[in-house]
Structures are given as C-alpha cells and as structure tokens.
C-alpha cells in the first residue's frame, strides 16, 4: 500500500541573524548605504563567502504514514516538532527534501485561528471554518452541530469580544472538531478549558481518530494523550528523528533519556564512618510507574530505583534514604518517602553497592512536572548527605478520571503507603 504521507530528507535551516532582525528599519538601512556606500558594497560582495550562523531546526527527517494511522510526535522543547508541523502544513517551506501528501489536509496549530473579536459567534464560525479549509456549504450544513457541541447557543449572535476565554476556546474547538479532511494535523490544542470540556474534546478526538480512513498527526507534550490516541509515534531530538515505532516503546525511550540522566561525578561524596572509609556515589536513578512502562499516571504507583556504588569494604550501616517529591508549579513538597518510616522493609545493613528500590501505592498527584529530591544519609558521619534531584512527569487520564476537577497541585494532604528494599 502506498503511504498517505511520505516525508523524505526534510531539513530546515534558519539563519540566526535573520531571526534576530525582526525589526529592521528601512531608514537605517538606507542611511547606512548613503553614508557608507563602500562598506555596503564590500559587504554585499563578500557576504556569500562569509560563514553565516546557521541553525538546523530539522535535519534529514524521513518517515511515512499509512492511511488511517494516528501518528504521535514527541520531543523536548526545541526538538523541531513545531517546525516539522509548519512544514507539513506548508506554512513555511523546507530547505531541502520533499513531502508527498495524498488527499485533503487540514491543520489545527492553534485554537481559533483567524477569530475576530468584533464579529459574532456565528460569523466567526464561518470565518474560522473557511480559514481551516472548509467550504461554505459544508460549514452551513454542520453549523447546528458545531454550535451544539460548543455549548454557546445563547450567545451565538454576540460579538465574541464579550465571550469569556473559555467560551471562545469551546467555540473554536467545536469548529475544528467538525473538520473532515483525509489528513488532520493537530498541535497541542487541548491544554485549555475546564476538565469537563477537555473530557468532551478527548472523547471527540478518540472518535475522530477511530473513524474509518482518517489519518492524524498529533503533536503534544502530554505523553498520556499520545499514549491514548496514537499507535505509532516518532521521537525528535535536536532536529533529528531519534526513534519511530510503537508508541509505548518510543515513550519509554523518551522518558528514559530524559529522567535517567547519569548523576554527575561531583555527587560522589566521601563518607567515612566507624567501619568504613571511601567514596560513595549514585550511578543511576530511574523513576517510572510500578509497571515499569509508559507514562506515570495519577493513579499509578511510583517506582524509584537508585543504583549506587562505593569502595567500602564492609556493609553500610545506619543508612537512611529520604526522597522528597517536589511539585514544579508550586515548589512545595507533595510527597515524602522516608526509609526510616518504613524501616521494617529496609535492611539495617546495606551492601556496599547495589540497588535500592522504593515502591509506592497510587500517588494521586496532579498532572505536571515533579522533582524527586533524593537524600542519602548515613548516621554518625561527618558529611552525611548525598543530594540528587531527578525530574519526572505525571499525567492524568481525564477520560478515566472520575472527578470534575484536577487533584490539587499545591498541597499534599494524603498519606500513601510505600516501601524500600534492597536488590542484590
């Protein structure tokens, strides 16, 4: 079967100087030419030979998508996701390479593109629909469905400058949800609205993706969403295609690369105590859910694996591990995992090297980024602290989430069970 999307050797180059100069005054340029005609001429002549500062936002990206597939695109900030989308949607041309798209294409890079505040909801539905590539007859035919989906029937003839931002977004999403192209390209557009409306959008998205023959490209930072909607995913890193394959596998690679950074050597700390002298250091930290795969969901258990080594000759006595989970948005400790609290499962004497595993029950944390602040303490030593921070992300599956609002992001008023143990 011939693929519906074929991306061949796509690269995109930006000249950095070009990017900076978004406000260049013609007046200055003309004045420069006038006052320094020789310098200008010289610059024009020598310019092609000078090395320009170049930045490759994308380098040699290749992939194909079959009809009916839903492809997720993930990657860190600046990995080239948006650039890839902009090229696929023809907003900006590639520097090299070729893309072949079979069928009609519509894109949603933003909710409410082309909305005009002075126009009424009704007028904006038509304007936005046309901007996204719908025919007038098509919009007219779907108009009632769109309005019903948005839930703003009452205000449809009011200029949207009087709408709340939530209402605008709902109306915009309603229009976009009724697009019916062969290929649909979607950027992160669901990061808005209240939980209930997001639920509705998600259901609609699932509906769209599962409809016969629809091909969807979906970019998101929300890994859980990708995991829910896409079977196949590509991972971009520094403009290059790092991995393509089954979503779960790609997400695992991505999470692994991101959170399992090797601790720096400065983390090796000399901890002489009564029995031992020498260095102890962490060699690895891995944070995942207890199933060891995919996104860490709100209702999943956390599994933190610390690998350490030391040149101690005897077992380490009186060790204690304290892991503080800090929310990035509130900068507060939301969970505290202390080996002294669950001392029954934690061995009194640690081997001189090995793995410490901490497992928790359902964490019940809100969607977002967290840091695990890990402290390794050996009682009765002069310097008794090894500190190490590691980042991870939690996703909330709204379709399965039973509450109307998110779990609270700032406070942790729940106590969960957890255990520490030593692996050989």
């Amino acid at each position: 079967m011939t693929p519906i999307i074929e991306v061949k050797n796509i690269s995109k180059k930006y000249n950095i100087s070009h990017q900076q100069g978004s406000y260049v005054a013609l007046r200055d340029v003309l004045a420069n030419i006038f006052y320094h005609p020789l310098r200008f001429a010289k610059k024009k002549v020598t310019a092609p030979f000078k090395a320009k500062e170049e930045f490759w936002a994308l380098k040699d990206v290749n992939f194909t998508v079959q009809k009916g597939e839903t492809l997720g695109i993930i990657g860190a900030n600046g990995a080239g996701k948006s650039t890839l989308l902009k090229i696929l949607t023809q907003i900006t041309p590639p520097t090299t390479g070729e893309i072949k798209l079979v069928g009609t294409v519509a894109s949603m890079l933003e909710v409410g593109t082309g909305f005009h505040p002075e126009l009424t909801g009704r007028e904006n539905v038509f304007l936005n629909g046309a901007t996204l590539g719908m025919r007038r007859s098509e919009i007219a035919q779907k108009f009632d469905d769109i309005v019903e989906f948005s839930g703003v029937e009452k205000f449809i003839d009011t200029p949207i400058k009087y709408y709340s931002s939530g209402m605008q977004i709902r109306l915009a999403f309603a229009v976009a949800a009724h697009l019916e192209p062969d290929i649909l390209i979607i950027d992160e557009v669901l990061a808005v609205g209240d939980a209930e409306f997001q639920k509705k959008c998600l259901a609609k998205m699932k509906d769209i993706t599962q409809k016969e023959g629809r091909t969807i490209l979906f970019v998101s930072h929300n890994l859980l969403l990708i995991q829910n909607l896409c079977k196949k995913t590509i991972l971009l890193e520094h403009g290059e295609l790092k991995k393509i394959g089954a979503t779960e596998e790609v997400i695992n690679t991505y999470i692994h690369n991101r959170s399992n950074r090797k601790p720096e050597s400065s983390n090796a700390v000399s901890l002489p105590n009564e029995n031992n002298t020498g260095n102890i250091r962490f060699t690895g930290i891995k944070i995942s859910n207890t199933e060891d795969s995919g996104v860490i969901k709100s209702d999943a258990g956390l599994k933190i694996v610390l690998t350490y080594s030391s040149d101690y000759e005897k077992p380490i006595t009186d060790a204690r591990i304290v892991i503080n989970i800090v929310s990035e948005s509130s900068q507060q400790i939301v969970l505290r995992l202390d080996s002294d609290v669950t001392s029954e499962s934690f061995p009194a004497d640690l081997q001189s090297q090995g793995e410490i595993v901490c497992e928790t029950e359902s964490i019940n944390l809100a969607e977002g980024k967290y840091f695990a602040d890990i402290n390794f303490v050996i009682q009765g030593t002069s310097r008794n602290l090894v500190k190490m921070a590691c980042e991870f992300e939690v996703g909330t599956d709204l379709t399965a989430y039973k509450y109307k609002t998110y779990p609270d992001k700032s406070v942790c008023d729940h106590v969960i069970k957890y255990s520490f143990k030593q692996n050989g």
């Binding site: 023809q90 907003i91 304007l127 901007t131």
Partner: protein, 275 residues
C-alpha cells in the same frame, strides 16, 4: 479514490501556474477575508457605514472651499465640487487600496503563522474591500450631480470598470511589493501615508493637468494621471479621452502587477519565519 488530490511540498522556487490555480481553489477564503474586512471596518466605528459617506464628502467640501472657492482653481468648465469628486473617487480607491495591501501581511500575522493558504489572497482581498467605499462614493457623486443639475456623459460610463481595473492593478502591484518590504522593514508603514499624501499633489486630483503648462508631461509619468484624466473625460464629457495616456497607465499597471507578484512570491517563503 479516483480524484484524490496529491500535495507535494518542496523547497520554494519562483512562480508556477500552480500558484494562480491555487488562488482560484481558495476563492471562498478570498471571499471570506473580504467579507470580514468589510464587516469589521463598519462595525468598529461609531458611525458605522456613515463613515464611508462622510469621509469623501467632507474631503470634497474642504477641497471645494479652499481650492475651488478661495484659490479659484480652474476646473475645465465644470462645477468644481463635481470636478474634484471625480478625481477623489479614483484617488481614494487607489490610496486606500495601496495602504491596505501594504499592511495586509503584517496585519494578519496570526493567520499567516498558523494556517496555509496562498498569501496572495491577503493583498487582493484588502483591495477588494475598497470596492464598497468606491460604490458608496459613486452614489454620492450622483447626488452631487443632481444637486448641480449636471448631466454626465453617460456614453462614457462604460470605461469606468476599465479604469477601476487599471487602478486595481497599480494598487495591488505596488501594494504587494510594499507588503513584502514591510515584513522585513517595519518602518515602511510610517513612511507610506506621507508618501501617499505627497502623491496626491502630483496627481491631477484637485487641479486639471493643464495648469502645469509646458510641464504637464511630467504629470503623465504618474500612472494615476491617465486614469483620472480619462475618468473626467468620460464622466464630465469635457474633453476627448486621451487614449495614449490611458495606454501608458494600463501598461504601467500591468508592469507593476508583474513586478509586485514576482517580488511577493520571491519573499513569500520567509514571511511565516519573520513576521
């Protein structure tokens, strides 16, 4: 699956027929952009559509008082208000089209960076918008003629669409060029109104070209001269149409349109990266 459309995305080079076919494909969007601009223009102002009536009318009144009454500007034997309004009719269409087209890219940044469509639609739709103002002005002109009991040369009216097309070409051509320059050099939009104001005085809008005497050939270099002269000849019937002058204007219009399109297409590839 017989008539499936295939889109090929490649690094952009030059202009192909495809570009023009595409504008046709996107004609509904052109319609919607034009419709939006018209709606918004008359919604945002307090007096709404009256603005379109008021503005040319007051300009005519002021010009008639100062140039017609005090300065005793010759008007080829027609009442001065009618004389100046025929000039203003086309001049205002030209100047607002040029202004609108040159701001069309920077004014639609939000859409340019988020959705694909042939960018040429933007300057074209912003110019089409001005046809509404033109029609309103035309009605005012008829009103003024009724007031002065002036019988226009109806036989010459058929030429008006042709004059509009020529003006359209000059305005859109120059507008596309300026719109592209405006994307990179943002001070163009400050310089342009001043430039257009100066242009008004070297175009025979408030005076007949005859007052320039032996230097009237200089005015002929201005493409709008031919258009406005022809409009007066046709509507006021005071002189035969100068076909050579009109031909120069038309030729210039086509040339400007071609240059504008080429330049626009050439710089189009980085619009979305720069704006």
């Amino acid at each position: 699956m017989t008539n499936t459309k295939t889109i090929i995305i490649r690094p952009k080079k030059g202009i192909t027929w495809h570009d023009f076919r595409e504008i046709w494909q996107y004609r509904e969007l052109l319609y919607f952009f034009t419709w939006r601009d018209i709606k918004v223009r008359y919604k945002q102002t307090v007096i709404g559509i009256m603005w379109a009536v008021f503005q040319p009318f007051m300009t005519m009144v002021v010009f008639s008082i100062f140039f017609g009454h005090f300065a005793k500007m010759p008007s080829d034997g027609v009442p001065y208000p009618i004389f100046v309004f025929v000039g203003l009719l086309l001049w205002q269409f030209f100047s607002s089209s040029l202004n609108g087209a040159s701001a069309s890219l920077t004014g639609n940044t939000g859409i340019i960076t988020k959705v694909y469509f042939p960018r040429l639609i933007l300057p074209i739709s912003s110019t089409l918008t001005n046809f509404v103002d033109f029609s309103i002005s035309l009605v005012i002109l008829i009103g003024i003629m009724v007031y002065y009991r002036f019988i226009p040369g109806l036989a010459g009216l058929w030429i008006l669409p042709l004059l509009l097309v020529i003006t359209f070409m000059i305005a859109v051509g120059a507008g596309m060029f300026l719109a592209s320059v405006n994307v990179k050099y943002r001070d163009v939009r400050y310089a342009l109104p001043y430039f257009i104001q100066m242009l008004l005085f070297i175009t025979p809008v408030i005076y007949p070209p005859s007052i320039a005497g032996k230097f009237s050939w200089v005015l002929a270099l201005n493409p709008m001269t031919g258009v406005i002269k022809a409009a007066r000849s046709a509507i006021l019937g005071n002189a035969p149409i100068n076909w050579i002058l009109l031909g120069i204007s038309a030729g210039f219009g086509i040339l400007v349109l071609i240059i504008g399109t080429v330049f626009f297409k050439k710089t189009e590839r980085y619009f979305a990266d720069v704006v």
